[in-house]
Every structure is written in structure tokens, then in C-alpha cells.
């Protein structure tokens, strides 16, 4: 019996979550296998084989897997899965699409977004937008789960896993991939940035959102994030949404600007190492999770903050 990890990649790089999933997988003290599907996975397989703690990289290459569909990948997992004790992946849009489908094909339950592994079938996860923690035990013979990225450390490199190639089952052909749009941003990717500058509805317009937050983000090398209210108002694209129904981040520093701090938002950022909040309402709930809170008008405080950081840079020259 072994642990199978579904590995997400973009053809060039493994998703950073894969390295965390490997750390989570080591809990079982069983051999760890990594499943890589794609068009030509040779270079990804090399990267995967170099992760410490991985024994085997299983590659399935086919033109129809260049843009992997849930139907096909779940089918592959269901075929392989009978031999595994655990099937897991880092929690994200990719795994959320595929693993529940695979679990149902295997007739087992799934445990989403595990925060902590307590025993080989017992987990801590959050419910009600992170406002309650629940300990659950699965009675199924195969454990299928996704793990909450920031709860598990990044696995080291230095591994020498074997790489094997398997035959690919025929495409399921219920769904056709048409296109994909990835936002082109000069800022770092939200889910791996070490600093995030996030804004809310109070920015008032897409122009303000950009004009106030982008210079600060640029100075800090930060990714930009947003509340759902800001996204719904059209101030920021939806892939910037942080929260229960958006992306979950845990950077070194999270600066929440004009964000009220609804639980649906804080779910996505309260694991950040350091949280700074700027809000004009002293009673805003965001201050309950902030390490440093500044009660101020953001239209004054944010430009002042950016200016002070620039001034400091000049002073140091």
C-alpha cells in the first residue's frame, strides 16, 4: 500500500502546492507516488523525481491530456487508485474539480482542505467558512483528501524517484476543452507571494484600486488581492478574490486596505504570518485578526505609506 499524489503543473513547473502535499503524504510512512498527466511530461517528471520523499513518479502522456479534463484524470485515478491507501492533492481549483469525481468512482468519501492529519484516517478541517474546526474520521479503505497548503511545509529536494510511464486510457469524450485565460500581471502570483496587498469595496473604482494599491504592491514586491465586494463591483478581476470562495493565501505579510473583515474574507488570509489592517472604522472586524491596525482614511494613509517607503529607499542610497 502506498500514497498517491495528484500533481498539478503548467507544463513548465510543478505547482508549489505539490511540495506541500508531499510533506502531508509522509504522515503515513508509506511509499509516496506522484501522478503526472500531460502531453509530454518528461521535464515535469524530472522535477517531481527530485522531491525528497517521493519513491515513484507515474507519467501518463497523451495529446488529450495537454489540457486535462476532470473526466479523464478522475478515470485514471480510479483505475490506479484501488492499489492505494491514500490519494491526495494540494487543495485548489485543479484538485477540487478532479478528486471528488475520482472518490465517487472509487465509492469512497472525500475530505476537503485538511488542516491537520491526526491519525491515518482522522483529520482536522474547517467548516462554516473557517469559524469552526471539525475532527473527522473516515471509515473508508481508501482515503481521498485535499490538504490546505499553508498547513504543511514545503518538501525538500534531493530525491531520486524512479519514473515510470503508463498506458493512457481512451479519452472519455464528454467534454471539450475550448480555451483558457490566465491573467497577465506584473505582480507576483497571489498564491505564492510573500506579501499581499488587498483592497475592498471602499476603494470606490477600478481606477482607484489600481492607482492606490499598485504602487504600494510594486514597492513591496507584493501580489494584489481583493474582497468579493471589490471583485463584484468590477474593481479587480475575480482571480484576485481572497476568501472562502476565492483563493486562500498565507504570506509573510498581508495588508488589508478598506476591508471590513467578513469571515468569508478572513478565511482566506487569517493564516498569514503578519496582518496589517487599514480601515476608518475602529470597530471593523478585520482588526480582530490584525497584528497592527491603523484607523485611518485609506485615501490618505495608503499614499503616505507608499511615500514613506520610497523616502526610506532614497535615504539609504
Amino acid at each position: 500500500m502506498s500514497v498517491l499524489i495528484l500533481a498539478e503543473h503548467d507544463g513548465q513547473q510543478l505547482n508549489p502546492g505539490v511540495y506541500r502535499a508531499v510533506s502531508a503524504a509522509r504522515f503515513w510512512e508509506l511509499p509516496v507516488h506522484l501522478l503526472v498527466t500531460g502531453g509530454n511530461t518528461a521535464n515535469i517528471a524530472e522535477l517531481a523525481a527530485a522531491i525528497a520523499g517521493v519513491q515513484r513518479v507515474i507519467c501518463l502522456d497523451s495529446t488529450h491530456l495537454v489540457h486535462p479534463l476532470a473526466e479523464d484524470v478522475a478515470n485514471i485515478i480510479a483505475v490506479l487508485g484501488q492499489q492505494y491507501r491514500v490519494i491526495l492533492a494540494a487543495h485548489g481549483a485543479f484538485s477540487k474539480n478532479i478528486l471528488p469525481r475520482a472518490a465517487a468512482l472509487l465509492d469512497v468519501a472525500m475530505i476537503s482542505d485538511v488542516l491537520e492529519i491526526k491519525a491515518d484516517n482522522t483529520y482536522v478541517r474547517s467548516i462554516y467558512a473557517g469559524s469552526v474546526h471539525s475532527i473527522i474520521r473516515s471509515i473508508d479503505p481508501i482515503q481521498v483528501l485535499t490538504v490546505h497548503g499553508s498547513s504543511f511545509p514545503v518538501a525538500n529536494s534531493g530525491g531520486h524517484a524512479e519514473i515510470i510511464n503508463l498506458d493512457v486510457p481512451a479519452p472519455i469524450d464528454k467534454t471539450r476543452w475550448l480555451s483558457e485565460n490566465h491573467s497577465q500581471s506584473e505582480h507576483p502570483a497571489l498564491n505564492s507571494a510573500s506579501v499581499v496587498v488587498a483592497g475592498g469595496r471602499s476603494l470606490g473604482s477600478a481606477e482607484n484600486f489600481e492607482a492606490l494599491l499598485a504602487p504600494l504592491a510594486a514597492k513591496l514586491g507584493a501580489a494584489m488581492g481583493a474582497t468579493r465586494a471589490a471583485v463584484d463591483a468590477g474593481y479587480a478581476p475575480n482571480e484576485m478574490q481572497v476568501g472562502q470562495t476565492g483563493i486562500v493565501v498565507a504570506p509573510e505579510l498581508y495588508i488589508a486596505i478598506g476591508v471590513s473583515g467578513a469571515v468569508q474574507h478572513t478565511f482566506g488570509m487569517k493564516d498569514s504570518k503578519l496582518i496589517v489592517a487599514i480601515n476608518q472604522d475602529p470597530d471593523a472586524p478585520i482588526f480582530q485578526v490584525a497584528d497592527y491596525g491603523l484607523v485611518a482614511d485609506l485615501f490618505e494613509a495608503v499614499p503616505a505609506l507608499a511615500a514613506a517607503i520610497i523616502q526610506r529607499e532614497k535615504d539609504q542610497l
Binding site: N97, A109, S112
Partner: protein, 250 residues
């Protein structure tokens, strides 16, 4: 074309749930319950397809106790044609729910099934994908746009860092993101009328599927709280704290 929507009854999103003193579960007695927000988007999208003449009939299904009649009445008041309650007093989990929904779908034969992308109580986000697997249908999850073209559902999916467009053959299972649409408000007269409409009830135990829970909740607890923060009086003080106390190079 017939559309089925799955509607879950959940604690209203504005309510902060309490934990039972024995920590066995959350205490939802007497708490305001609502339609799961994403399921309202599912209903709304089905209604729009009917208004465009693409859908002919919309059936809303909810699984749970007789208390779930209230969310079905809400769906009827929004405009769905029929409501089905799959009644069970036992704990229902995504896999079991998917199996029960499949049994209802075999009777109803809808061409399109729309669920919410996740329930805001269990935050599982699994039922739609599991249902699609059990039915052997194609799936379109976390969708923010939907167009029916011939025998396909053309969807935009929200994925990490962007969007994806797929064509899913009908019959298909879709799961709605909040951005799919803005659900309509229910008018009081419609709610009054919905009170008089029949709700068909099926006994879950009589649908011939095994749906017992596979997951046992051992305990619930408050999440760890962050240590209390500090209020700073100015931008200057904030930067001073970040630089000196936290050692940040900014």
C-alpha cells in the same frame, strides 16, 4: 429541456454558529436557515434558461428533514415549476447525497443538473463532481457563464489565476459560482403562492441506494485565535513597528 437544481438548507451566511457545550457538533437550534447561496445562483440560471425558451421545466430537489420544505418553497417562489423533498432524518454526506440525487435523476431524466459549487456549512465542494461521476456525465464546475448551444453546455469555469472555457455534452452536471448571476429577490405574493404549491416527498430509504455516512465527526472546536493586535496611531508608527519589531526591510 428539463433542468434539475439541487437546493441545500444551510445556516444563513450572516450567522455566527455556536458550538454545543459537549463539543459534539455545532448548535443550529433556533438559528436562521436559508437556501445555500450558490444554490440560489443555480436556481436563477435555470430560470433564465426557461425565460429564454431553452428550458421547459425546472425541478428543485432538496435532501433532508421535512424542515427543508422552507428552502423548496423559496425555490418555488423564485419560479421553479416543481419541488421534490428526499426525506431522511439521518446524517447526509456528499457521496450519499450524490447517490440519492442520481436515483431522483433516473426518474426525472433532466438534460441539465445544476448544483451549487459548495455548501457554506460543510464547505465540501464535492457533491456535483461525485454526481457527475456516478451518472457518467461530463461536468462543468465553478461556472461563471453558461450558454446552451445545440447538445452542449458552453461554460466559463473559474480556475486558479484565470478562467477556462469548456463545452460539456448534455446531459451534464454543472456547479454554480456566485458570479454566474445575481439571484432575483423573492416577492412576498410569490412566497404566499408558493405556500400552497405541492411538494412531492420521496423517502430516501426507499430509493434503493446505500447512503450511510462514511465520515464520523468526532469533535468540533473553536479555531485557534490570533494573539491580540496593536493599534498604531499613524503611518509612521506603523512603519516603525514593522521595521523595528518585525524586522521587515520595508
Amino acid at each position: 429541456m428539463k433542468i434539475m437544481v439541487a437546493v441545500k438548507r444551510v445556516v444563513d451566511y450572516n450567522i455566527k454558529v455556536r458550538i454545543k457545550p459537549d463539543e459534539s457538533d455545532v448548535d443550529i437550534s433556533g438559528v436562521k436557515m436559508s437556501v445555500n447561496p450558490f444554490d440560489e445562483n443555480a436556481i436563477e440560471e435555470a430560470l433564465r434558461l426557461k425565460e429564454k425558451g431553452i428550458a421547459s421545466e425546472i425541478v428543485a430537489v432538496s435532501l433532508g428533514t421535512t424542515a427543508n420544505q422552507d428552502v423548496l418553497r423559496h425555490a418555488l417562489a423564485m419560479g421553479v415549476d416543481r419541488a421534490v423533498l428526499v426525506a431522511s432524518d439521518t446524517v447526509l454526506q456528499p457521496l450519499g447525497i450524490a447517490k440519492l440525487l442520481k436515483a431522483v435523476i433516473e426518474r426525472e431524466q433532466p438534460a441539465l443538473i445544476i448544483l451549487g459549487k459548495q455548501a457554506i456549512d460543510d464547505d465540501a465542494g464535492q457533491t456535483g463532481q461525485m454526481l457527475a461521476a456516478l451518472l457518467g456525465y461530463g461536468q462543468g464546475t465553478f461556472i461563471s457563464t453558461l450558454v446552451i448551444e445545440g447538445r452542449e453546455a458552453i461554460v466559463t469555469r473559474e480556475i486558479d489565476g484565470g478562467t477556462q472555457q469548456l463545452a460539456v455534452s448534455l446531459p451534464a452536471v454543472l456547479t454554480a459560482d456566485l458570479r454566474l448571476n445575481e439571484p432575483r429577490f423573492v416577492k412576498l405574493p410569490n412566497l404566499m403562492m408558493a405556500r400552497k404549491k405541492p411538494i412531492e416527498t420521496l423517502n430516501a430509504a426507499e430509493l434503493g441506494v446505500e447512503f450511510s455516512p462514511r465520515l464520523q465527526q468526532l469533535k468540533v472546536s473553536e479555531p485557534p485565535v490570533r494573539k491580540p493586535g496593536i493599534r498604531v496611531a499613524s503611518v509612521t508608527e506603523l512603519l516603525e513597528k514593522l521595521r523595528v519589531h518585525e524586522g521587515l526591510l520595508i
